[in-house]
Amino acid sequence: MARTPVEFRLNGAEKAVFVEGGANLLDVLRRGLGDMTPKYGCGQGTCGTCTVLVDGRPQLACLTLAETVAGREVRTVAGLPDGAELHPLQDAFMENFAAQCGYCTPGMLMAAAALLERRPDPSREEVVEAISGNICRCTGYEPIIAAILDAAQRRRRRAS
C-alpha cells in the first residue's frame, strides 16, 4: 500500500508521519499520532465534531486529505491549554455547563477558538454563526453560546 510521508506542526510540535493513500487528517491525528481529542461524528462534513484549526482557520479533519496539511500548523483541543493552565474557553465551558455528553465539545471549542482569534469581542450573532457547523445533540446550544461570550470576556481580562 502506498504510504506518503507528511510533515506538519501539531500544537506547536514538529510531526512526521507516513499516511496511507486517501487517509484523512482525523485518522492521522487519532491513530497515527495518538491525539484523541478530535472526534469522529459523520465523515461527511455535517456535524463539525472533528473541527481542528489549520493555519488558524477551522477545518473538518475528516474531510481534510492528510497530504494537504504538509508544512502547515494544525491545532486541536490538546493544544488549547497553556501548560497546566486551561484556555479561557475551557474554563468558561466548565462553568457555564456547556458540555453534557462531551462528544461535540472538542469541535465546539475549536470552532470557538477560531472565532475568538479573529474577533476577540464577538457579538452573539457572530458566536451563533461560528458554531453553526457544529451539532450538539444534547441540545445545549444556549449554554455553549453563553460560555463562548463569557470566554471572550475572560480572555480580554486576562490580556489586560
Binding site: 500500500m1 496511507e20 486517501g22 491513530r31 495518538g34 484523541m36 481529542t37 478530535p38 472526534k39 469522529y40 461524528g41 459523520c42 465523515g43 461527511q44 455535517t46 456535524c47 465534531t49 486541536t76 483541543v77 490538546a78 488549547l80 491549554p81 486551561l86 474557553l89 475551557q90 465551558f93 466548565m94 462553568e95 455547563f97 458540555a99 453534557q100 455528553c101 462531551g102 462528544y103 461535540c104 465539545t105 472538542p106 471549542l109 452573539r124 451539532i135 450538539c136 445533540r137 444534547c138 444556549e142 449554554p143 453560546i145 453563553a146
Partner: protein
C-alpha cells in the same frame, strides 16, 4: 436570550408537601466529568488505542424483505488485508431478543441474518480487515443472491389479510404477550354506553408519528480485544452495559465472566444505544481473529440501521358533554416495531399504562398492538411509549376544545386528574400537578383563563366518587371483550394461516375470540385473527406471490437451548397490565 432560559423554581406551589432544604436542586453544580470533556480526554470507546487493530464492516441488505439464496465471499476473502468474513453460521447462538434477559418475549432476531432479511440494512456478513478501507472494499466484493419478497411498511397493512409475514417467529405480524394476547387491552367502565348517551358530542381523530432517529453525535460502536486470561475486553458506546454484556454472553454462548466490558462514557445515546449489537460482533471478531477488532457505524448506518423511536398511529374517540367533560375515551394504537421486537413490546405496555393521559375520564378503553413491519427495528428513545400517544392526546384535546367551544387550557384544567382520583390502570393518582402546570403556562404565555379556572387546584376536588372503579363489562369467564380463551396459542414453527378478514364494523369489539369456548379444542386451534376493530386499509397492491404459499421457512433455532451467560434459572415472569399480575 440566555437569561430567558434560566430555570424558575416555583416554590410557592405545593410548598407544604416538602421541606425546602435541597442542597443541589436549584444550585449550580459542576459535572464530575466536565474537566475530561473540555480537555477532550473523556474516554469514549473509540479513544482506546490497540496495536494491530482490525476493522469490521457489515454486508447489508439493500431490500426490505428478501430471501438469501447464496452469499459468495470467495472473491472478498482473497482481497488484500482481509482477515476473516463472519456469517450467521459462525455465531454460536444466532437468535436473541433483548428482553429475554428478563424472560420476556421470544428470541426473534439473528446477529447475522441467515435465511432471509426483513429490513433494509440488515446485516448478513461481517468483514474483518486490516484497514477500514480494505473492509469497505471487501464488503463491496461480497455477492449476495437475493430473492426479493413482498414487503409491508405500514402496521395496519401488516395486520390485513394476505400481508407478508415479516418475521416467522411472529406469524401474525404482532407481538403476542405471554404467548396468548395479540395486543394490550385496557378496559375501565363502559365506553360504548357513554358513546350512546344523548347528551354527548363524539369527537374522533387519527394521529401518527414517523420514526425518529436518536442521532447521537458519537455513532454506535465497540472495540473488543483478547486479554491474556481467556477473557475479552470490550470498550463500548452502550447506554446499557449489562444488557450488552448479557446479550453478548447469550449470542456467543459464553459465560459473562469471560467478558470484561468497559463503558459509561457515551457520546449521546437518547435510547438508541440500549440495544446495540456491536459488542457481540466485535467480541466474536476478536475470538475468531485473535486480534483487537473495532466495529463502528458510519453516520449513514447510524441513520439507516440504527434503531429509531418507532412510528405510531393512534385512533381516538371521545364522548364529551356540552360543558366540556370528557366522559369516555377510546384508543386504538399501533406501534410499528419494525422487523424485530427489541423494546417495542415494552413501549406498548408503557403506553397502555399511561392512558388516558393526565385526565380523569370515567370510561376508558384501549387496544394497542405491537406490529411487525419490514422497517428498521424500533427501540427506546426518551419517553418512548408515552411521547407518541401524548402527542395524539394533546392534539385531540385541542380538537375537543374547538368542537365544544371551550378554551383549550380551560378544557385541560376541567378534565385534569386530581389527587385521589382513580386512574384507568386502577391506581390512585397522587402528586398530580397538571392544573398548576396549565395555570403557570397560561400566565407565562399571557393567555387569559377565567378566574374559576385560575382558582382550581390539584389538591382539592379529587377523590370521592372520582376514586371509584367503575363497573367494567366482562363476560361470564371474567374476561373483557376480545380476550382469547386461557390456553396459549401454540408456538408456531411454520407460517400460520392467513389472518381472518378484518371486520368492517366500527364496534370496538373484535368479532371472534370472545365467543370462543373456554375449553381448548382437541387439535391446536388456528391462530385467532388479529382483528383490527376498524377496517384496515388494504395493501396498495396485492403481492403477486403470497408468502403463505411458499414452503415453510423454518426460523433458525439453535440446536442446544441456551444455558449459559446471565440467564438465571427460575427468573420470574415480567408482569404487565393485562398479563399475569404477580401478588
Amino acid at each position: 436570550m440566555s437569561s430567558q432560559t434560566r430555570v424558575e423554581l416555583r416554590k410557592d406551589l405545593f410548598a407544604d408537601e416538602r421541606d425546602d432544604n435541597l442542597n443541589e436542586i436549584g444550585r449550580p453544580t459542576a459535572r464530575q466529568d466536565i474537566l475530561g470533556h473540555v480537555t477532550g480526554r473523556s474516554p469514549f470507546f473509540d479513544d482506546h488505542q490497540f496495536d494491530g487493530l482490525l476493522h469490521m464492516r457489515c454486508v447489508r441488505s439493500p431490500h426490505h424483505h428478501a430471501r438469501i439464496r447464496r452469499i459468495d465471499i470467495a472473491a472478498a476473502e482473497r482481497m488484500p488485508g482481509v482477515r476473516r468474513i463472519i456469517l450467521g453460521r459462525d455465531v454460536p447462538h444466532n437468535l436473541n431478543t433483548l428482553l429475554s434477559l428478563i424472560d420476556f418475549g421470544r428470541d426473534d432476531e439473528p446477529l447475522l441474518a441467515t435465511g432471509k432479511v426483513s429490513y433494509v440494512g440488515e446485516a448478513v456478513a461481517a468483514v474483518i480487515a486490516e484497514t477500514e478501507r480494505q473492509a469497505r472494499d471487501a464488503v463491496a466484493a461480497v455477492r449476495v443472491d437475493w430473492e426479493v419478497l413482498p414487503h409491508v411498511l405500514d402496521p395496519e397493512e401488516a395486520l390485513a389479510p394476505g400481508a407478508p409475514i415479516v418475521n416467522e417467529t411472529w406469524p401474525r405480524n404482532v407481538f403476542e404477550y405471554h404467548d396468548k394476547y395479540t395486543h394490550q387491552k385496557l378496559r375501565f367502565g363502559d365506553v360504548e354506553r357513554a358513546f350512546a348517551r344523548p347528551d354527548v358530542e363524539i369527537v374522533e381523530g387519527r394521529y401518527q408519528m414517523s420514526p425518529i432517529e436518536q442521532a447521537p453525535t458519537e455513532t454506535c460502536g465497540a472495540i473488543a480485544a483478547p486479554e491474556t486470561n481467556g477473557r475479552y475486553v470490550c470498550h463500548t458506546s452502550t447506554q446499557a452495559l449489562f444488557f450488552s454484556l448479557g446479550t453478548t454472553a447469550k449470542l456467543l454462548d459464553m459465560p459473562s465472566s469471560r467478558l470484561h466490558f468497559i463503558g459509561g462514557t457515551v457520546g449521546g445515546g437518547f435510547g438508541g444505544k440500549v440495544d446495540s449489537l456491536h459488542e457481540p460482533l466485535a467480541v466474536l471478531g476478536a475470538i475468531l481473529t485473535g486480534a483487537p477488532v473495532k466495529y463502528i457505524w458510519d453516520r449513514a448506518e447510524e441513520m439507516q440501521v440504527g434503531a429509531p423511536r418507532g412510528a405510531e398511529r393512534w385512533y381516538l374517540k371521545d364522548a364529551v358533554t356540552r360543558d366540556g367533560r370528557i366522559v369516555a375515551r377510546r384508543f386504538r394504537g399501533y406501534f410499528d416495531c419494525g422487523a424485530y421486537t427489541r423494546l417495542s413490546s415494552y413501549a406498548v405496555q408503557k403506553a397502555t399504562g399511561h392512558l388516558p393521559g393526565p385526565y380523569t375520564i370515567e370510561n376508558v378503553s384501549s387496544d394497542v398492538y405491537c406490529v411487525f413491519t419490514n422497517r428498521t427495528p424500533a427501540t427506546a428513545m426518551r419517553g418512548f411509549g408515552i411521547t407518541g400517544v401524548d402527542f395524539a392526546i394533546e392534539c385531540h384535546m385541542d380538537k375537543v376544545a374547538e368542537r365544544v367551544g371551550l378554551d383549550p387550557i380551560e378544557l385541560r384544567i376541567l378534565n385534569a386528574y386530581r389527587d385521589g382520583d382513580m386512574k384507568a390502570h386502577r391506581r390512585l393518582a397522587k402528586n398530580t400537578a397538571l392544573i398548576e402546570c396549565c395555570q403557570v403556562a397560561a400566565e407565562k404565555a399571557g393567555w387569559p383563563i377565567r378566574p374559576e379556572f385560575a382558582a382550581m387546584s390539584s389538591l382539592t376536588g379529587g377523590g370521592g366518587d372520582r376514586a371509584a372503579i367503575p363497573e367494567t363489562v366482562t363476560d361470564e369467564e371474567g374476561r373483557v371483550d376480545g380476550t382469547p380463551a386461557a390456553r396459549p396459542a401454540p408456538r408456531p414453527a411454520a407460517p400460520a394461516p392467513a389472518p381472518a378478514p378484518a371486520t368492517a364494523s366500527t364496534s370496538a369489539r373484535p368479532a371472534a375470540p370472545a365467543t370462543r369456548p373456554a375449553a381448548p379444542p382437541a387439535t391446536p386451534p388456528a391462530a385467532p385473527p388479529v382483528a383490527p376493530p376498524v377496517s384496515a386499509p388494504a395493501p396498495a397492491a396485492a403481492p403477486a406471490e403470497r408468502p403463505q404459499e411458499r414452503p415453510a421457512q423454518k426460523p433458525y433455532q439453535p440446536q442446544e437451548p441456551f444455558t449459559r451467560g446471565v440467564k438465571k434459572p427460575g427468573a420470574h415472569r415480567f408482569s404487565s397490565l393485562s398479563g399475569t399480575r404477580r401478588r
